[in-house]
């Protein structure tokens, strides 16, 4: 736990209401919404179930983090689920290739909300040492939203643990009264990320307009060349 009791109460406490000194570690006067937020967030932050889903080298350090020496279980995160339906944290642990980004987007869409993504390692963040490769996606955030980035090649288990603690901090900051921070309580289901297509190269449907524009540009260029000859 990063929080002591006292910190917990101090954060909850409404600044305008005075509380006698001796009981400050036991009493907090707060708004109802803030109380609900903190209970709701406390429950989620301490039982994050990551998806057991390894991509590359970083996955090995992820396993090391889960094992006895570093012991992810201290943070309530030891239950690695193989099914995306039961997981709420996707640790993208390794190089994302164009071939693999299709299943990753599908898995992300299949996860039930609230869901979080942690990009582990240089490759998942921006392509890393393999960025220039023809089959490498330079960063998973080109396709799905990422909450926490953990740099390193591979990040040490300590770095991953730090990233997970940052993830908990992020959850702490979310509020039920703010729709933007918890979109899954909106009126309609959240929009899915459109599935990339494996064409002559990977095609992101969100970039289709660019593709059409480029095609039109080459066509005009070809026409012009024809006219000039």
């Amino acid at each position: 736990m990063t929080h002591s009791n006292e910190d917990f109460f101090r954060e909850l406490h409404h600044p305008d209401v005075p509380v006698p000194e001796g009981v400050q570690s036991a009493v907090a006067v707060t708004s109802f919404g803030k109380l609900i937020d903190s209970i709701y967030n406390w429950g989620r932050r301490n039982s994050i179930w990551p998806m057991s889903f390894g991509l590359a080298c970083c996955a090995i350090e992820m396993i090391a983090t889960a094992s006895s020496r570093f012991d992810q279980a201290r943070f309530g995160m030891e239950v690695l689920r193989a099914s995306p339906r039961q997981a709420d944290l996707m640790i993208v642990s390794g190089t994302v290739t164009k071939k693999m980004v299709v299943p990753i987007v599908r898995l992300y869409n299949q996860m039930s909300e609230p869901k979080y993504v942690l990009a582990m390692g240089a490759c998942a963040i921006g392509g890393g040492p393999f960025k220039e490769g023809y089959n490498v996606v330079s960063g998973i955030d080109k396709y799905i939203p990422v909450d926490v980035y953990v740099p390193g090649c591979p990040p040490t288990p300590q770095a991953l643990l730090h990233g997970l603690i940052m993830m908990q901090k992020k959850i702490d900051g979310q509020s039920l009264s703010n729709r933007n921070s918890m979109p899954w309580y909106g009126r309609a289901p959240s929009e899915e990320v459109p599935m990339p297509v494996l064409g002559p190269d990977i095609i992101d449907p969100r970039q289709a307009y660019l593709l059409r524009r480029e095609a039109a540009a080459t066509e005009t260029a070809a026409d012009e060349a024809e006219v000039s000859t």
């Binding site: 996955a59 006895s68 693999m100 960025k131 330079s138 591979p154 064409g199 190269d201 990977i202």
Partner: protein
């Protein structure tokens, strides 16, 4: 130390073999007489004949590596060249067969009929180089997907983020301003489409091609079972990463199995050609990411062979080699322990045996971290030695709550590890697992690979040796200081999962034996140089030529085929990955078994996806 006696005027078995080839196939076989190159160039029309003769009559029955090189602008007619490294299982150097084909209509006869182990490698050559193999049973793309534009390893094919042919790129700092590749790409991403590509109405072939190959549909014949096609992976907890299998089932029995890979294809070969020789060293770490030290060793061997102009490679300095062997053998123990842990994972003992393995792994990684600066990606070896000497003390870098402060004398730490801790861990693994009823029931007699099939499929490492072939590169074509060390080549004869499990225990015990001999050498050579080149100059000039450096990695024979044109960068850099080629035999091992056994069989091969897909 062993003394090597030079006997003059003798014909080595390899020279004899080449003489016989020339006599038998006069006109169709000629020596590769380029400076620094070896082997014979075979007329493509008679390639199958020559290969069959080499296998049956000359005894080169083991195809280690088959790969293609693009000689655009380097040879007359800009040919593509297929290079086959074949070995005699009695030991000795390679007979290298080469066949050339023009790049416009690149076609060669397939050698799958001679060496079934060529199957995946020829598919790779088709995928990346665009050489069509006549007579190949299933010539489809293997690492990229069906429908991908072009054959990326050809020299005239440029990737989306292409800047220059070789590093260091000047284009990154034009006029003192940093410039990134994505800024020049119209999509802002690592993508590139052919000029005539039309998005509307496009249908992706990638998945369709996979299922078209599998016999889909319901076949109700004599039994009332349906034939079902199941896709397993790439996200599956038992496929050891992003491996995928398309299994055709009759009821619950496997009748066909097609491995699908490329989900971690990170383009080592293409990036390796852009990099300088030294640049590639950290990239080798990321091939088999359990065994970065052994990967370093294989690559260092290949480049040192180039530096020695193809002559028998000599250890750079004795201390450097002793340190290398120390690292490599520790890696072997680490890898096998974890491999057994993962195998048990697949057999249903979820995570617990792996936890035991990881405890020992952490101890070894502490030593690696103290020596090289990194836990996993060590990037430790250099051409002509290693980057640093062993440290005096192993000190704590992690101040974790549950971690005791670490400060040990290195030699004391190693002695403790090698004489006491690791043997105990191996014995413990043996005590807890070997006679376990579930393990014996599920492993004995399952996934059998016969001796003949193992050789034909080019299986390597523990998979080959568990099938009764005592072939170990450390003995067959000795490198480093292995000739001075005493150890046995572990061999088992049943070729089932159980033997592949037992042989890993045997090999770990042999590694302990080697390590015990290394310890006094390290004491004796203390203070001697650990790097043979000039101080700190790690990027030497590499003469033109070719080299095939092979090392016995924990997963099997790891080979690096490097072609140099005398420049700063390799002209061709190819990795012969043991995990990749061991998968050739997977379907054979799985046929007739149940779905649950596939998982165990795959676990017993011990693949790592970084190496399968490269």
């Amino acid at each position: 130390m062993t003394e090597y006696v030079q006997i003059a005027e003798t014909v080595t078995p390899l020279q004899g073999a080449i003489h016989r080839l020339e006599a038998q196939f006069a006109g169709a076989v000629r020596r590769d007489d380029r400076e620094g190159f070896s082997g014979v160039i075979v007329d493509s029309g008679r390639l199958v004949e020559v290969a069959t003769f080499a296998r049956d009559t000359l005894g080169f029955s083991y195809l280690s590596s088959a790969t293609a090189v693009d000689y655009l602008g380097k040879a007359e007619g800009d040919p593509l060249e297929m290079v086959y490294h074949t070995y005699n299982l009695q030991g000795g150097p390679a007979l290298v067969l080469k066949a050339r084909t023009p790049r416009s209509e690149a076609t060669l006869p397939s050698l799958v009929g001679v060496w079934p182990g060529a199957n995946f490698q020829e598919r790779e050559a088709w995928d990346l180089m665009g050489i069509r193999f006549e007579g190949h049973p299933n010539l489809t793309r293997i690492l990229m997907w069906e429908g991908f534009n072009g054959h990326p390893l050809r020299k005239d094919w440029h990737e989306a983020y292409y800047e220059e042919d070789t590093k260091p790129f000047d284009s990154r700092w034009p006029e003192g301003r940093v410039s990134r590749a994505e800024e020049h790409n119209p999509y802002g991403r690592n993508v590139k489409y052919p000029a005539d590509f039309a998005l509307d109405g496009y249908e992706s072939l990638a998945e369709k091609a996979l299922y078209d190959a599998a016999p889909m549909g319901v076949h109700v014949t004599d039994m009332a079972t349906d034939r079902v096609v199941v896709s397993m992976g790439p996200q599956h907890p038992s496929t050891h990463g992003v491996f995928r299998m398309i299994a055709t089932l009759d009821g619950e029995t496997i009748v066909g199995l097609e491995p699908v890979m490329g989900y971690l294809h990170r383009n080592h070969d293409k990036i390796g050609e852009r990099n300088t020789f030294l640049h590639n060293m950290p990239f080798t770490d990321r091939l088999d990411y359990f065994c970065s030290m052994s990967n370093n060793h294989g690559y260092a061997l290949a480049v040192e062979q180039l530096m020695a102009l193809g002559k028998r490679y000599e250890p750079p300095t004795y201390r450097a080699e002793a340190i290398r062997v120390l690292m490599v053998e520790l890696t072997r123990i680490l890898n096998h322990l974890v491999a057994i842990g993962f195998l048990l994972n697949d057999l249903g003992a979820y995570f617990t045996p792996l936890m035991y393995a990881i405890i020992e792994r952490e101890l070894i990684l502490d030593f690696f971290e103290a020596t090289s600066g990194s836990r996993m990606m060590c990037n430790y070896m250099r051409f002509g030695g290693v980057a640093y000497d062993l440290p005096q003390r192993i000190e704590g870098t992690a101040a974790l709550v549950n971690d005791r402060v670490r400060d040990f004398d290195t030699m004391h730490y190693l002695r403790d590890l090698i004489n006491d801790r690791l043997p105990r861990a191996i014995d413990q693994t043996n005590d807890l697992l070997t006679t376990n009823e579930i393990i014996t029931n599920r492993c004995i007699g399952v996934g059998v690979l016969t001796r003949e099939d193992a050789i034909a499929c080019s299986a390597a490492g523990p998979v080959l040796r568990a099938s009764g072939v005592p072939y170990d590169v450390r003995r067959a074509e000795p490198y480093s200081i292995y000739p001075d060390l005493e150890f046995d080549v572990a061999v088992r004869y049943h070729g089932d999962i159980y033997d592949r499990y037992l042989i890993r225990l045997d090999e770990m015990r042999q590694s302990i034996r080697i390590l015990k001999q290394i310890l006094p050498i390290l004491e004796e050579t203390k203070g001697q140089p650990f790097f043979a080149g000039r101080g700190g100059q790690y990027n030497p000039r590499i003469p033109a030529g070719e080299a095939y450096g092979r090392a016995e990695n924990p997963k099997g024979e790891l080979g690096y085929y490097v072609v140099s044109d005398g420049g700063q960068n390799p002209w061709r850099y190819h990795v012969r990955a043991p995990s990749f080629i061991n998968l050739t035999a997977l379907e054979q091992m799985c046929k007739g078994h149940k779905v649950a056994d596939v998982v165990a069989i795959l676990g017993s091969i011990d693949i790592v996806l970084g190496e399968v897909d490269r």
